[in-house]
Subunit: 409 residues, 2 copies
C-alpha cells in the first residue's frame, strides 16, 4: 500500500457523501451535465485571501493567473486581490477583462515583440527579463508612442530552500543576474521609461516557513542593495511567492502567520531607500489549489494478477500533475476519495487509473479505499491549480473536462 | 556539455539551411504565417510504410492515431495503411472520416457506455478490456440492434524487454489476464457477438530487434494456446507494435527487416488453428515521429552566471516530451539544430528554453550548437508523434502551435 496526501481542511471532517461549498457532488455533476468535472469553490479561495490579509497587513496580494486562468474563476478572484501577474499575451488579454492595466504585471523569459507591444499599449507593467528585452521594449514604446512601465526581474543570488522548483541561486533564464540589475535600472530610468521596481522570484511550492522567511529577508536586502546601487527608490517590490500546499503524505501546511510576522519585522528594519516602497506577494497555487476538486466516474473495476484496478473516465488528459508526470521525479499519490464514502475506513487496496491507453495514466497507485463500484465518483483533491490548463487535454481525443465555479450561497 | 539525440535519416547529410520535403524552413514558416510550427513530411511517412511493407509482406499495417491525430495527417496516412486503431470516441469520429468502420478498432481501458455505443453503432471493432466491458457491450448491442464486433485484448504474460513502456508481464489495467481470455472468447461467441480475434500489446518504444522478435513469437504462441483453449480460430491477431525510434544519444535505430524475417519464420511454423488468421502490427510513433519537425524562433539570447540561454517562442506547451516531463525519469536531449546552420560545427554550449515561466520548460540542456542569434529558427526533431496533441497547449496562455502537412512535390 502507498499513502495518499492529506485532505484539504475543508474536507477533513466530512462523513458520508462529499460536499463542496455546501453542495452535494451529485448535484454539482447534475449541474455540469457530465463527468469528468473540476469544481472550484470560491469560498475556499476567499478563506485563503482573508488569511493572507490578516497575516500580511499592508502587503499587496497578487494572483498569478497561470495557476488557474479559467475566466469565471478569474472574474471571481479579481476583486479579492490587488494585482494580477500574467505570463503571456493570452493571459494578459484575460487579465485586462477583470483588472485595470496598472494592476497587471507580465513576466516571462521569452516575450515576443507582439507580446511586448500588447503590454505596452495596454499600460501593463513588464517584468523585464534581460537587457535585450529592455532594448526591444524601448523601441516598441517609441513606435507606439507609449511610455513603457518596466520592472526589473532579478535572478536572485539566493535560492528558496526546500522549494519544489528553485528559481534562484543559479544560472537561470529568468531575470537578469543580480550583479547586472542596477545597471539595467539606470538604463531604464535614463531611457525615460516608467521604472516600476523589482520582481524577485526565488522558488515555488515551499512548505517550510523558515525557508520562506530567510528568502524574503534576503530578497529585501538584495532589493535595497540594488536600489542603492542604482540610486533610485523602487515604487514596488514583488517579493515572489513560493507558498506551497500539502500534496503528499507527510507534507505539513505552511505556517503563513509566522511568515507574515517575520516579514513585518524585516520591513520595520528595512533600508531607508525602501521607506516608500510598496511590497507585493504573488500567489497562485496557495490561493486556488485546495479550492479545486476533480470528480471522475468509475467506468470499470477489474482484477489483474491479484491487483484491483479502478478505471475512471478522466485522467492525465485533465490532471497531468496528479498522475505524477509533470515536474516530479518520484510518483506520489495526491489525496483522493470515494466521493460517496467520505470518512469511511478503507477495505481494500486498489489502483485508480484513467481511461487513457498508456500506463502513465495512474491517479492513485495502490491506495487504500472504502468499497468502490462502477458508477461511483472518485474525487481527486488539490485540483484547483495547474490542473485543467496544465494538462494535455487533446491527448487521446477525450472531451475536455467541464469546469464549474461555485460559491457558498 | 550534454549530448543530443541522432538526427533522423532524412536530415543526416543536410548542410546549410534546413529543408523539409525539399522545402526551405523559411518558406514553410512563411506559409504557416508564424512560429512555433510543426511540419509533418508525408514523404517520410511513406518511406516508412514502404519499408514496413517490404519487411512484413502479408501482414496488415495499422496506424495508432494517438501518435498524431491531426486531420490532415490522418487523411494522408489512411490510404497507406490497412487499419486505424483508436483510443476514444473522439479518435473514432476522426477515423471514420477517412476509413470504413470495418478497418477501425478501438482499445482503451475505460470506455464509457457512450463510447461503446458509438463504436457498436458505427460497426468498429471494440478491443474488449474486461468481462464487465463485454457485458456492457452485449447490452448496448441489444439495445441499438447491432451485433457488436468484439476482439479480446489480452494482458500477456510476457513483457517486451527494453521497451520504453512495458504493458505486459504484470498486473495491468489493459485487457484481461491471459488465464481468463479463453473464457471471455467463449462468452463472446455464445452471446452471438462477432468475435474478431485478439489484441495483444506488450510494450512500446523498443529499439532491440531481438526483444521484439521474442515478444512476437511469445504472442503468437499465446494466441494459439488461447484459441485452442477457446476452441475457435481468431479472424485477426493484432500483435501490437512497440517499434521504437532513436530519440537520444546512443540510441540505435530498430532493425525492422530482421524483425520481419523472424516473424515470417514464426508464422510459417504457426499452430494449425491460426492457419487462416490475419495478422496486424499496430504502429504509431515509428511511422510518424521522424517525419515531424518543430520549428521555434529565438526570442532572446542571454547570459546568466556564465551560462548562455537561448530562449525560443515555443516550449513544453507544444512539445512536452522533448522537455523531458512526460514519462521519463532522467531528462535527455532530443536532437535539435540551428535551422540555418545544418552540418556546421558547434561553437558554444547553450541551454535552449521555451517561453514558459517555469524551469521545466527546457528543450536543450547544455547542448553544443553553432552560432545562434535572436531571430534564428531552432528545429527540434522527432516531433511527429506525441507532440502537439500530447502537450498542455493551454498552459500559460500562449497560442497553440501551427501544424503543417507537406509532401514532396
Amino acid at each position: 500500500m502507498k499513502p495518499i496526501g492529506p485532505l484539504p481542511p475543508e474536507f477533513l471532517d466530512q462523513a458520508g457523501a462529499l460536499s463542496i461549498a455546501g453542495r452535494s457532488v451529485d448535484s454539482l455533476v447534475a449541474e455540469a451535465g457530465d463527468t469528468p468535472l473540476f469544481v472550484y469553490n470560491m469560498a475556499a479561495v476567499a478563506t485563503r485571501v482573508a488569511r493572507f490579509r490578516a497575516a500580511f497587513p499592508g502587503i499587496d496580494l497578487h494572483y498569478a493567473i497561470k495557476a488557474n486562468p479559467l475566466p469565471a474563476l478569474l472574474a471571481a478572484i479579481a476583486p479579492l486581490v490587488d494585482g494580477l501577474d500574467v505570463a503571456s499575451s493570452g493571459e494578459l488579454a484575460k487579465a485586462l477583462t477583470v483588472k485595470p492595466a496598472q494592476a497587471i504585471s507580465f513576466a516571462g523569459p521569452g516575450k515576443r515583440d507582439d507580446e511586448l507591444t500588447a503590454a505596452i499599449r495596454a499600460g501593463a507593467t513588464l517584468n523585464v527579463e534581460s537587457e535585450g528585452e529592455a532594448t526591444r521594449a524601448f523601441a516598441i514604446g517609441d513606435r507606439v508612442g507609449v511610455t513603457p512601465r518596466l520592472a526589473v526581474r532579478v535572478n536572485p543570488d539566493v535560492e528558496l530552500r526546500g522549494s519544489g522548483m528553485k528559481m534562484g541561486g543559479r544560472a537561470s533564464p529568468f531575470g537578469v543576474d543580480a550583479v547586472r540589475a542596477a545597471a539595467l535600472v539606470r538604463r531604464i530610468v535614463a531611457a525615460g521609461a516608467d521604472w516600476r521596481g523589482f520582481h524577485i522570484y526565488a522558488g515555488s511550492q515551499a512548505l517550510d516557513a523558515q525557508a520562506i522567511i530567510d528568502t524574503q529577508s534576503a530578497t529585501l536586502a538584495l532589493a535595497a542593495r540594488l536600489a542603492e546601487e542604482a540610486g533610485v527608490a523602487p515604487p514596488l517590490i514583488n517579493l515572489g511567492g513560493g507558498f506551497g500546499v500539502p500534496y503528499f503524505a507527510g507534507d505539513v501546511a505552511l505556517d503563513v502567520e509566522r511568515v507574515g510576522a517575520a516579514l513585518a519585522e524585516s520591513l520595520a528594519r528595512r533600508a531607508p531607500i525602501l521607506a516608500d516602497t510598496r511590497f507585493a506577494i504573488e500567489l497562485g497555487r496557495w490561493l486556488v489549489a485546495e479550492a479545486g476538486v476533480y470528480l471522475t466516474r468509475v467506468v470499470d473495476v477489474k482484477q489483474s494478477q491479484g491487483e484491483t484496478f479502478v478505471i475512471v473516465d478522466g485522467g492525465l488528459n485533465h490532471q497531468l500533475a496528479a498522475s505524477g508526470n509533470f515536474g516530479t521525479v518520484v510518483r506520489r499519490n495526491y489525496p483522493l476519495a470515494v466521493a460517496a464514502r467520505m470518512g469511511e475506513a478503507p477495505t481494500a487496496e486498489v489502483t485508480v487509473v484513467g481511461p487513457l491507453c498508456t500506463p502513465l495514466d495512474r491517479l492513485g497507485d495502490r491506495v487504500a479505499l472504502p468499497p468502490v463500484e462502477v458508477g461511483d465518483l472518485i474525487a481527486i483533491f488539490l485540483a484547483g491549480a495547474y490542473g485543467a490548463s496544465a494538462s494535455p487535454a487533446a491527448f487521446l481525443g477525450h472531451p475536455p473536462a467541464i469546469e464549474l465555479v461555485v460559491e457558498r450561497s
